[in-house]
């Protein structure tokens, strides 16, 4: 017998709390916790969503097996982006392959670090001594190249152009929660999403044809996938499916890293004492060797704390969900199959039980002695449990590599009023709202060394 699950007030007759989720998701998720406590039910159109709050309830969520809580069915807005036969259509067994492809294994990280440093150098090549840059534009393009080089292969990266930036922008903007009503409503953002996906399929088709024509041999992930044959000799994966795999790999690591890099730089500009500490740390670390190597990236404590604090206050995903397949019991409550359960990263990361003065930007909360990230199921910018982001270590390494170069080479300051920088939460993929410009100036010390 289940105790009654408290219901959140408000909500419209048909759409429930869907519009509130699209407009003010962080506030909605906090309001559910404030009104209902540890567990509370709201509604996304016809779909009931039971939110779980606090370390213990979140632990139950993250430990539940796939047979009980299904990840795939909870994100209908991703299906038209990935396409048929990709990620969420795959079995848990197939999904496990993701790690076996080795690009995220620890041994592979060393090579990635150098690749990311090279890519960042390329991106900075045209900067000159001073100027202005839009953070979303800059980091979105940089992370497309770094991610595709690391996850697919360096040859593929050279076959890409800046054309991918608007394509991924449109795919990311196509993750509107209105998909809970229907992911194919005739909306401009969904039309753009579908057009961007078709364009990307054509682009990859072109790359494959060029490779075949020129007889170029590569051993990257795409070529390997393309080479897998059915018993009758036909390719096992169509270009459409491979495109979907590419999108799914990129979705995990692209907008997330690019948004985090942007917010980290903004928070450093807003908190000059931390900018100073982070820059001094890097200057000292790279004093003898100028190489951004894996070893150097291992321990950069101040920068790492800054990045962790950025992820705490500005998590690129704010809500994780699963569809209940077998009854999900927690304490006195049982959630019935067909409903969804959710955990709010945004709310948990600002839980006053876990974080002292949670609204404040204070990277020292992660320093030895305080270690406010010690709660595996409370500090959850990357989720937790078996579905924890497999790219978390890669992401941190990538951010450290990028900032190792940026902060040693340039000084930054805000080019807009401090409060004008904000996240756009209208889509499930959170992005920095544009404009988000900063000014940069080459550092005198760095200039002297370079000369």
């Amino acid at each position: 017998m289940s105790a009654a699950i408290p219901r959140l007030s408000g909500g419209l007759p048909l759409l429930g709390h869907l519009l509130e989720l699209r407009r003010r998701p962080t506030e909605l998720l906090q309001r559910t916790r404030d009104e209902c406590g540890e567990i509370g039910e709201l509604r996304l159109a016809h779909q009931p969503l039971v939110m779980l709050y606090g370390e213990a309830a979140q632990e139950a969520f993250f430990r539940a097996p796939d047979e009980q809580l299904d990840q795939a069915a909870a994100y209908p807005f991703m299906k038209p982006v990935f396409g048929a036969g990709v990620v969420f259509d795959a079995t848990p067994e197939q999904r496990k392959q993701a790690l076996r492809n080795r690009s995220l294994r620890d041994q592979a990280m060393r090579g990635h670090a150098e690749g990311i440093a090279r890519e960042t150098e390329r991106a900075l090549a045209g900067w000159g001594d001073r100027g202005q840059v839009d953070l979303l534009d800059f980091f979105a393009e940089l992370t497309i190249y770094t991610s595709s080089a690391a996850l697919i292969g360096p040859e593929f990266r050279e076959e890409l152009s800046a054309e991918l930036v608007p394509i991924f922008h449109d795919l990311e903007r196509g993750t509107d929660a209105i998909a809970y009503v229907n992911p194919n409503l005739p909306l401009p953002s969904f039309r753009k999403r579908d057009r961007a996906r078709r364009r990307l399929v054509a682009l990859l088709q072109g790359i494959f044809e060029r490779r075949e024509r020129t007889g170029r041999k590569t051993q990257d992930l795409f070529q390997i996938l393309r080479g897998i044959r059915n018993p009758d000799g036909s390719p096992r994966y169509t270009v459409d499916t491979i495109t979907g795999m590419f999108i799914s790999l990129m979705f995990a690591g692209h907008h997330t890293t690019s948004t985090t890099a942007s917010w980290a730089l903004l928070e450093l500009c807003r908190h000059p004492e931390w900018m100073k500490r982070a820059t001094e740390e890097l200057d000292a670390l790279y004093a003898d060797s100028r190489d951004v190597s894996y070893q150097a990236l291992r321990e950069i404590p101040v920068l790492e704390s800054v990045l962790k604090e950025t992820l705490r206050l500005h998590p690129p995903l704010i809500l994780l969900m699963r569809k209940v397949v077998q009854p999900f019991a927690y304490r006195d409550w049982t959630v019935a199959p067909g409903k969804m359960v959710g955990v709010s990263i945004a709310t948990s990361n600002r839980d006053p039980a876990l974080f002292r003065d949670p609204e404040r930007f204070d990277p020292s909360r992660f320093e030895p002695g305080r270690e406010e990230d010690r709660s595996t199921f409370g500090y959850i910018p990357f989720g937790a449990g078996r579905h924890r982001c497999v790219g978390a270590a890669f992401a941190m390494m990538q951010l450290k590599a990028i900032f190792s170069l940026l902060l040693r080479r340039y000084e930054f300051e805000l080019a807009q009023p401090a409060e004008s920088y904000r996240s756009d939460h209208s889509k499930m993929v959170v992005q920095l709202a544009q404009p988000c410009r900063v000014r940069y100036r080459r550092r005198a010390v760095e200039a002297a060394v370079a000369a």
């Binding site: 041994q107 449990g385 078996r386 924890r388």
Partner: protein, 66 residues
């Protein structure tokens, strides 16, 4: 020193096997850690502590024998 693994958290990244190959390996078919020596000698302490520290999913823990 005793090693504990929270297997729900392990994703088989293999960082532990890189830090302390005497103590950890990754089962390639399961993508999960295999503890080769659950009670390793003190001489391996530094390596084991590095494995615990750098585990990307924080699946490892050390307890002390008394």
């Amino acid at each position: 020193m005793k090693i504990h693994v929270d297997i729900d958290l392990c994703q088989g990244h293999g960082v532990c096997a890189g830090e302390a190959p005497e103590v950890f390996a990754v089962d390639p078919t399961e993508s999960r850690v295999v503890v080769l020596d659950p009670d390793p000698p003190e001489t391996l302490r530094a390596k084991v502590e590095a494995a615990v520290k750098y585990c990307p999913t924080r699946a490892l823990r050390i307890t002390e024998d008394r």
